[in-house]
Amino acid sequence: MVKQKVTVTINGTSHSHEVEPRLLLVHFIRELAGLTGTHVGCDTSQCGACTIHMSGQAVKSCTLLAVQADGAQITTIEGMAKDGKLHPIQEGFWEKHGLQCGFCTPGMIMSAAQLLERYPKPSEAEIRHQLEGNLCRCTGYHNIVKAIQYAAENMAKR
């Protein structure tokens, strides 16, 4: 298979690799950039464990080819904390016990960031609706909702 050069900036660092055109972006991130915080939980775009930010949008990195991301600016879970300080959403998940096994958590946090950009003061129903693309099997979502509410309050204060 003819390989193509793909250059992607992830969390401010440029990553260039020759890749097969069929390579999924999530595998570029995990296997080539070595950032394993972005997870793969399904193969049908349901679970959202692979959610990242690309050009300011929360996207499922299992549903994009790496070649489609050529030249893109990407943020993954590893890029959310700044200068050793947790992002308010990360704080919220910790404070409100919004995670158990931790596998869905990176995708949840990345989705929640977009959610709060769109709805800075979200209702419970808005939070639940906006998380439609992220599955969690441990928490029953109760504390994930609380974590995002907590983050929303703290982000509004800042």
Binding site: H39, C42, C47, L99, F103, R137, G140
Partner: protein
């Protein structure tokens, strides 16, 4: 004082910083030098003989390192079944099928390549010449005449026939009954769907003969023992099994599976590390499934609503092979729970386990106990409906009265302690039950279908007394280990045989240990999930970690305190009998100013210059705790639903949960497990179900697009509370909290839907999940009848 602060406190989890920053360490994150990647060739047929496997084209594909079929694995045994019932039919279960494949997904070859895509591509080139045979997937049809026969050793596809209780006494109870209520109850098949798919990395080191297996396991020592001693015949002590961060288990990661066994064998052949990670489609096809019972149940009642007798006949689908603990689930984890929280005249239960051409069935969160609870709680409501009694009243009439130490049930178990009425009263109070019934009547007048459902459940956990389970067929002991190492500086490392895959052991066990020593929590570290560092342990399932694992740790702490007293007595020139441990120091009883701090005793143990005669240096103790009995958490859940009469859609309006799990280490973590358990129980009631096409044997619900997992917008906020009835079984008074929600929720939801439809004359819905379509059809049928 540290003691009062830590136990019972909602302390934030110390494992969270790594998970919320993407620094978790899951099996698929591991990359080793020289690593290869595996893909499995699987049967696309439910029942087919293997005529020939042609690997020539695949072997020539780019990057292929090796391909193995079952015939290459000479000297390798069957995957073992770890629970043997009398006269159980145990068919061979080769890690790679050699003669025939018996379910869609049964692996027949492993393809190993330099890249994952290379392995996947080459797997597509392996040509299997199949002789496709008729198959049977239906639980009901499996043992009927004319069904395709799956294993020669199991005529009629029957794996076992099992019974518990007293048939004659039950028959007599039914003869005396004023009213008999009969129902068929189908408990559908589920798929656990832990968010992290199963995975393994196997690395053999030729120079030393050491094999390391990283695997998504809830019990690494059990994995190692079964794989080395029973299947591969390689020395147990030369194998190290590591279960790093594991992304949920819910039972599905207890069992020894084909894939890690084959990878561990294959790395010894190719002498390079191999990584295999299941994709979700493979997970649906090969992770052990749960539930799948069809039951005919009858309750004998007096006219005033006393429970005289219960008769249960269940067919349990075991799938194509016996998974590790499969026979225990529909028998000793099911029939023994049919007494529930009620006083019965008599109980008798018969179970037939059948083989089908489906994925093997084994423990899924609750394992047997949800099936028992669902059956009982559905029958209790059906009985109330038949007698025109309030479902709350019939429960109160039949509850076992409060007891502190021992209640003998009709089905072998002796409950530990219980106060069932109190938990139920609290739930009714939270619900404001009387007010709810008034509102319900008013809503009905306006054509709205609102209902409430109860579930007053009990479960057996804290698994399990070894002697008891051994006498019932377990091939393992079910104790737990706990090693406590006090370092010279007084810092503490604890090694537990329990394994955390979401439960938060690194936090709760640190709370427990810091409390008991009276030292700061950050002086305590918890190590788990590695056979190279942890003493042999049985792992985490059956809500056993805090109660069994925590008690093992406590026993080691007590041994350290006893040794410390001798050292302190020597330093204080006192007698050891006069020393007590309190507030982080060894002190003379009644004179706390005459004391040696914990850290000084630790240092003295390692620098024993001024040291008592006959005491060994060092401060490290290991204990193995075997519980004397199971523990029996209980509680009362109540669910309020509204059914849309036009679409059949069910909306949960309220969910109230009162659980009694005994003493609690970290309420935040217990609540979290209850929430997640409820979500899984609601999932079974309303949306989830694995469906096979009985003609082709294909798993129709084979992806997350087809199998409806609960999403955030399908679930409510949960209203939780607790009563606390400590268990007398272990010194911590902890019963166990991991499975209560799942066990309780399913009947609460289904009872609520039936209650909502009761005005239409509905008193039962045979099959879950209660999808909008099924509820709509129920409404239509009820209206047609009227």
């Amino acid at each position: 004082m540290a003691t009062a602060r830590l136990m019972g406190s909602s302390i934030k989890r110390r494992e969270d910083p790594r998970f919320i920053t993407g620094k978790g360490n899951y099996t698929d994150d591991l990359k080793l030098p020289g690593m290869t990647y595996a893909a499995f060739v699987r049967s696309p047929h439910a029942n087919a003989k293997i005529r020939r496997i042609d690997t020539a084209a695949a072997k020539g594909a780019p990057g292929v390192v090796a391909i193995f079929t079952g015939k290459d694995m000479t000297g390798v045994n069957s995957l073992p079944c770890g629970w043997l019932l009398p006269d159980l039919k145990v068919p061979a279960h080769p890690p790679l099928a050699t003669e025939a494949a018996r379910y869609v997904g049964d692996p027949v070859a492993i393809v190993i390549a330099e890249s994952q895509t290379g392995a996947n591509d080459a797997a597509d080139l392996v040509a299997v010449d199949w002789d496709v045979l008729p198959s049977v997937t239906s639980t009901e049809r499996a043992a009927q005449a004319g069904a395709p026969q799956i294993h020669e050793v199991a005529p009629g596809n029957v794996a076992f026939k099992w019974q518990i209780g007293d048939a004659a006494e039950t028959e007599a109870a039914f003869k005396k009954a004023d009213v008999v209520v009969k129902k068929r109850i189908v408990n559908q098949r589920l798929v656990a769907n832990a968010m992290e798919p199963r995975a393994c990395v196997a690395r053999y080191e030729d120079a030393t003969g050491d094999l390391t297996l990283w695997v998504t396991s809830q019990n690494p020592h059990v994995h190692r023992l079964l794989m080395t001693a029973f299947v591969l015949g390689i020395p147990e002590h030369k194998v190290r099994v590591i279960a790093p961060d594991v992304g949920g288990g819910f039972g599905s990661k207890i069992f020894l599976y084909n894939e890690e066994t084959v990878c561990s064998w294959a790395t010894r052949q190719i002498k390079r590390p191999i990584r295999w990670t299941s994709n979700r489609r493979e997970a649906f096809q090969t992770d052990a499934h749960g539930r799948d019972h069809i039951t005919d149940a009858e309750v004998a009642l007096s006219r005033d609503g006393k429970f005289l007798g219960l008769r249960v006949k269940t067919t349990a689908n075991l799938g194509a092979y016996l998974s590790t603990f499969a026979p225990a689930v529909p028998t000793y984890l099911y029939g023994t729970l049919l007494n529930g929280v009620y006083t019965w005249g008599a109980i008798h239960c018969e179970v037939t386990g059948v083989f089908t051409n489906t994925t093997p069935v084994d423990a899924y969160r609750g394992a047997g106990r949800p099936e028992a609870c669902y059956l009982l709680e559905r029958m209790v409501d059906a009985a109330a409906a038949a007698l025109k009694m309030d479902p709350a009243d019939i429960r109160k009439k039949n509850f076992i009265p409060k007891f502190d130490n021992g209640f003998q049930t009709k089905v072998a178990l002796t409950y530990d302690s219980g106060n069932y009425g109190a938990a139920f009263d609290r739930a009714l109070q939270m619900l404001d039950y009387k007010k709810f019934r008034a509102e319900q009547a008013e809503a009905r007048g306006k054509g709205r279908l609102i209902g409430v459902g109860f579930s007053t459940y009990i479960e057996a956990c804290s698994i399990a007394p070894s002697k008891v389970v051994g006498s019932l067929g377990a091939q393992a002991g079910l104790w737990e280990s706990g090693k406590v190492r006090v370092h010279p500086t007084g810092m503490v490392t604890v090694f537990t045989g329990s394994h955390s895959h979401g439960q938060g052991h690194e936090t709760t066990f640190a709370q427990l240990v810091a409390d008991q020593f009276g030292i700061p929590m950050d002086h305590v570290d918890i190590v788990h999930g590695d056979t190279g560092t942890v003493p042999f342990g049985m792992g985490t399932y059956g809500s056993r970690s805090a109660s069994v694992g925590g008690t093992a740790i406590t026993m080691s702490i007590n041994k350290i305190k006893e040794k410390g007293k001798k050292i302190a007595a020597h330093l204080l020139e006192a007698s050891p009998q006069d020393i007590e441990y309190a507030n982080g120091q060894f002190q003379v009883k009644g004179s706390p100013q005459k004391a040696v701090p914990f850290g000084q005793v630790a240092l003295t143990a390692y620098v024993p210059h001024n040291y008592p005669e006959g005491v060994e240096p060092g401060l490290e103790e290991t204990s193995f705790y075997d519980p004397a009995n199971f523990c029996f958490p209980f509680g009362a859940h109540a669910c309020v639903v509204e059914v849309d009469p036009d679409t059949g859609n069910v909306k949960i309006l309220r969910y109230v949960a009162v659980d009694d799990v005994g003493n609690v280490i970290n309420p935040m973590i217990v609540d979290g497990m209850v929430h997640g358990g409820i979500a899984q129980g609601v999932g079974q009631a309303l949306w989830e179900g694995a469906v096979y096409d009985d003609g082709s044997g294909q798993l129709v619900t084979g992806t997350m697009m087809d199998y409806a997992l609960p999403k955030a917008d399908m679930l409510p906020m949960y209203e939780t509370d607790r009563t606390e009835t400590p268990t007398p079984v272990n010194p911590l008074g902890i019963k166990g909290a991991g499975e209560t929600g799942t066990i309780a929720a399913t009947p609460a939801v289904v009872n609520a839907v039936v209650d909502a439809l009761s005005g239409l004359g509905v008193d039962h819905i045979e099959t879950m999940p209660l999808t909008a379509e099924r509820v709509w059809k129920t409404i239509q049928a009820a209206r047609a009848k009227k």
